[in-house]
Structures are given as C-alpha cells and as structure tokens.
C-alpha cells in the first residue's frame, strides 16, 4: 500500500499535509497570485477575487441537522468568509449514480437553495454527470465559490495595526497572521458535526441528542469584521480544532496555549467521545469559527459573537505565545499537554 492513495490522505491531518506537499504543491505551486495555492489557506485570492472549491462526499446524504446540500453550500460559503470575503456566487457540479431518486435530489437541491438564501449567495453555474450504477456511491456535490473583499476588512486591519504598531502584510485573514498576545476564540461547542454523523451512522442510542452544526457563517463573520481587530479566522472542519490550531501555529511561527476548561463541548458529544476514545479536539465542525483577535478587542468580539444565534456558546479558549512549541493544552488535572497535529480526522466521510 506504500505507493497507493490511502483513506488517511484525505482526512485533514498530517498524512494529508504530506500528500498535498508531495503531489498537489509539487505540481502546482508558483502562481504568484496574492494568496496562492501554497498558502494552503481556506481560499485563494486572484486579482481581488476570493476563490475556493470543495467536493462533498458525506455519508449518509441526510443526517441530523443537515444534508449534503446544506453542507455543500455552507462549507464553501464559510471557506470564502473566513478569508475576509463576502461570498457572492457558487457553482454546483453534481456527479449522480444512475437510479438516484428524483425525490432525494429535490430534497437536496431545495436544501441548497435554502442555505443559499440564508447566506445571500447564488448558484450561477454548474455541471451534471450521471454515472452507471456502481461507478459512484449515489451522489457527490462539488461547490466552488467566488467572493469579493469585505468592505469592513480594511478598517478591521487598521485596528489590528493600531494594536500592534506594525503593518500587516497581505491584509487577508490568513493562517500566517498570528502574533504572540493574540486571543483565541471559538464561536461555540466543538465536535458536533462529526459526532452527530458518527452516532447516527452507527445507530448509537444517544444519536437523537446529537445534531450537526452545519450553517453558513458569513453574516456572523461580517459582524465581527465590523467590530474589528480580527487577525485570522478558520473553519475547523476535517481534523477539528487540533488540525486548525496546529496549522496556525506552524504557519505563524507562534505557540498556542489553550485552557481546557474554557473549550465548549456539548455533554452528549463529550460522552460519545469518551465512549469511543475520540478526542473532541480532532472532530470536524461545519458551523464553527476559530478566531484570532488582538487582545484589546477580544471581549468585544466575544460579545458580538454571543449576540448571534450561531455564537451563543462562544468562548475565549487561549492565546498565542512567544514560545514556539506548537499547541499546548493546560488541563486542570494533568498540567500541560501537547496537542499534536492529528494524523487525520477519526471519523471518515464527514464532508
């Protein structure tokens, strides 16, 4: 299996990072655009246009709290928004297995339409391929998206620069923007999406309590940019908070210290994770923001988040520090524990 693609190569962790280095970046780096492929941020920026793409292979297609349609729209909208863009238009490319029921297709398309309306975006182009029975597991939805610089981004960065006393290089919300002192905020409980899928798929008794958090977050993001002082943002999907924080630490060259007790985790998710031996920090989310903000603005950003339904459970969970030693969790019982980049998300096919 050494010279073949493995499941873990698509699971959002260390193996995927190596895979992207060896294959994707090796062939495609070097465009010279403002935010290029090799930044490996949530979106690229090309002549002012923010651009991203995701193929959605979630199973099952319908799950508690959402379906592949809401996931496909929200996922792409969020990837655009967390870079500082106002998402504008999406594509929808369907690969459908012959025999797929029209009724399921209608449910999925109507969920896409509803999620588009929530986000204020439109599907403007697309493609439909139908494959013979057995050539694809029912349905894959690719949504790519474009957006334009948020009108609040310049003023947001003016506040960051005022706090730091230095210019910020590219003035997009990049993974490489963090500096010691920045506060880390999560917009709500973590692990909901992955554990809801896991529990539902496996038919665990507690499944009824767990719901995916899938949701477009662009309006919340815009509210935060209006407050200002946001340094970076991320949509912690595959590999969860652990993958996202390690990416920030590595790309920004800062250590990140987290307070375990401050990280919001729903009781049901905590119980399920303990039962299954899964770390909720490594579980994917689809409706949560990870935010880095200059210290002076942390409380205001938190307040703004908590004033929204999507950010009700937001919390300050830690900060960036000078010692570059990756991501460290301060726990009440065991002291300091290193959170390494996950090998990959423990739950397959969550997005």
């Amino acid at each position: 299996m050494e010279d073949r693609v493995r499941l873990v190569h698509g699971a959002g962790g260390l193996f995927m990072q190596e895979f992207l280095d060896r294959f994707i970046l090796n062939f495609f780096r070097g465009s010279g655009f403002e935010v290029p492929l090799e930044a490996l941020d949530d979106s690229a920026v090309v002549e002012g246009v923010v651009f991203t793409s995701d193929s959605h292979t979630v199973r099952p297609l319908f799950f508690p709290g959402g379906d592949v349609g809401s996931l496909a729209v929200a996922g792409t909208v969020n990837d655009l928004a967390v870079l500082g863009a106002r998402p504008t238009a999406l594509s929808c490319a369907l690969v459908i297995e012959e025999g797929f029921p029209f009724s399921d297709l209608e449910r999925i398309l109507s969920s896409m339409r509803d999620t588009c309306r929530m986000a204020g975006v439109y599907i403007v182009t697309g493609d439909t391929k139908v494959l013979e029975k057995g050539a694809v597991d029912s349905l894959i939805v690719n949504t790519s998206g474009i957006g334009f610089r948020s009108p609040f981004l310049d003023e947001n960065f003016r506040i960051v620069e005022e706090s730091r006393g230095v210019k910020v290089g590219k003035r997009w919300l990049l993974d490489s923007n963090l500096r010691p002192g920045d506060k880390l905020i999560v917009s709500g409980t973590i692990g909901d999406h992955g554990m809801a899928l896991m529990a539902y798929r496996e038919g665990y008794g507690f499944a009824g309590d767990l719901q995916s958090d899938v949701k477009p977050l662009n309006r919340v993001v815009e509210g935060l940019l209006k407050v200002g002082g946001v340094v970076a943002m991320k949509d912690p999907t595959r590999g969860g908070l652990a993958a996202a924080l390690n990416e920030w630490s590595r790309k920004s060259g800062v250590g990140l210290e987290l307070d375990e007790s401050s990280i919001p985790v729903r009781e049901g998710v905590k119980a399920a994770c303990e039962m299954l031996g899964i770390d909720p920090l490594e579980v994917g989310n689809e409706g949560k923001l990870l935010i880095a903000v200059v210290p002076e603005k942390a409380e205001e950003i938190l307040e703004e988040l908590r004033s929204t339904p999507e950010g009700r459970d937001a919390a300050i969970i830690g900060e960036a520090v000078d010692k570059f030693e990756g991501v460290v969790l301060k726990t009440e019982v065991r002291g300091r524990r290193l959170i390494p980049p996950p090998i990959g998300d423990p739950i397959p096919r969550i997005c």
Copy 2:
C-alpha cells in the same frame, strides 16, 4: 425508472435539457447577475468575473491523445474562453478511490500542469477526498475556473455592431447573440474525441488511427477576438455540433443552415461512425470551436484560424437564416435534412 435519474440525463442532449429545467433551474434561477445560470451558457458572469465548473468522469483515465488531467484543464479553460474571457485561475478538487496508484496520480497531475502551462493558467485552490474502495470508480476531477474579460472583446463587439448597425445587448459571446446572415465556422474536424474514446475502449482495430483532440483553445480564441466580428462561440462537447447548433438556434431564435460537404470529418472518424451507426454531428469534441461571425469578417476569421495548428482544418460550414426552423443540413444526395437536438451523446463518459 420514471422517477429516477437516468444516464441520458447527463448526456448533453434533450433529456439533459429537461432535467436541468426541472431540477437545477427550478431551484436556482433568479440571481440577476450579468450572465446568470438560466442563460445556460458555457460560463456565468458575476460582477465582471467569468466563472465555470465541470466534474470530469471520463473513462478510461488515459486515452489516445490525452487523459483526465489534460481534459479537466482544457475543458474548463475552453468554457471560460468561449464566453470572451481570458482564463486566469482554476481549482482542482480530486475524489480518489482508496488504493489509487501514486504513479497514475503523478501522470495525471503532470498532465494538468503541462496543460495549464499551455493555456497560461494556474491551479490556485482545491480539495482532496479519498473514498473507501468501491465508493467511486477510481478518480473524479472537478475543475472550476475564473477568468476576466478579454481586452479585445470590446473592439470585437464594436466591429459586430458596425456590421449590424445595432447595439449588442450584453457584449459577451452568448448563445443568444446570433442573427440571420452570421456565418458558422468550425475550427477543425469533428467527432475526434468521442470516437477516439469509443474505439479505444471497445478495442476496435482502427483505434490506433483515432486521437482525442483535447486541447486548451484560449490562445486561439484571443487571436480571433483580435480580428474581431465574432458574435458567439461554443465548445461543442457532449452532444457534439448537433447539440451546440440547436442550442444556438433555440436561444437566438434563428434557423441555421449547414452544408454537409463543408463539415470537416476525419476519414477514420467517418468510417467508425458509419460502422457503428453514429452521427458524427452528435459526437463530443474537446478541442474544437464553433464560431458565429458577422459575414464581413468570416474569411478573415477563417484565415486566422488556419494559421494556427489547432485551426488548420477550419471551415465555414453554414450560416444563420431568417426562417426559424432549427438546424437544417443541406446534403448533396438527400437534399435538406433537419438535425434535431440529440437525445444525448451516443458515447457515454467522454468527459
């Protein structure tokens, strides 16, 4: 099977058109952008950005003259170019079956890179999903793309307007732009891609002679725009020339008359089509342009095409006429024959 998706719904013909109406347009029309989804053109235009998406499911992955990688890049580049855009950046979203050989992946990525270089575009963003064995037939490549208005497009339309004495509405190369008198040009022999795949797949003896025409055409397009007078352009893939011409006829409300003897078809393709009872007009192409041009400029456009390697075999094949009766083929032996929109491309999984 009445209430389920069928292969023909993705085959680029009449059934696909009905499918798009009933499902895609029904849910997603109404964005109000410059060239919206409901134009069903090769790309959309959103605040000046030309945007398109295609999922590539061709089989086999490697075929005479190309592979899924060159196809994915050229296909998306061409969809942008035929609207009048200069293609700029692409996404690459891979859905890979577990166990896919690294060596094949490298061949495909290097072919994508080479095709990008030919076209002068970059892959700037993407996504990688790996599915368990059996969940997808080896590899699907989605490429979405963005481009910006060609600097030669305004002058091109000035020449069109001079010829017609009236303004052109949206000044992109749209399917609805044709008017009686416009000349129809094809940039080379038709049916090469589809028949090469068919012959290779089925192991026919003549397979060796047939090669896919897959090729990025954006530089050729730009040369034509410099000449000026181009009214519309199309990349006649699934459903071939017959589907593309019927789309023009319907959307522009003009009849189209073709001279059968002037349509370039390679001898091997003609022979294969006759043997299999397939109309070469309905077979997909991946490196050909269908062009409508004002009559004063037809010869100059033809000359410009013939001066390029991609357009060596270009020919004027007919014209738009006042009688709106669809697409009519004038043949030497049988007189006039109506070319109806095909039900779907006769050859499955060509792109």
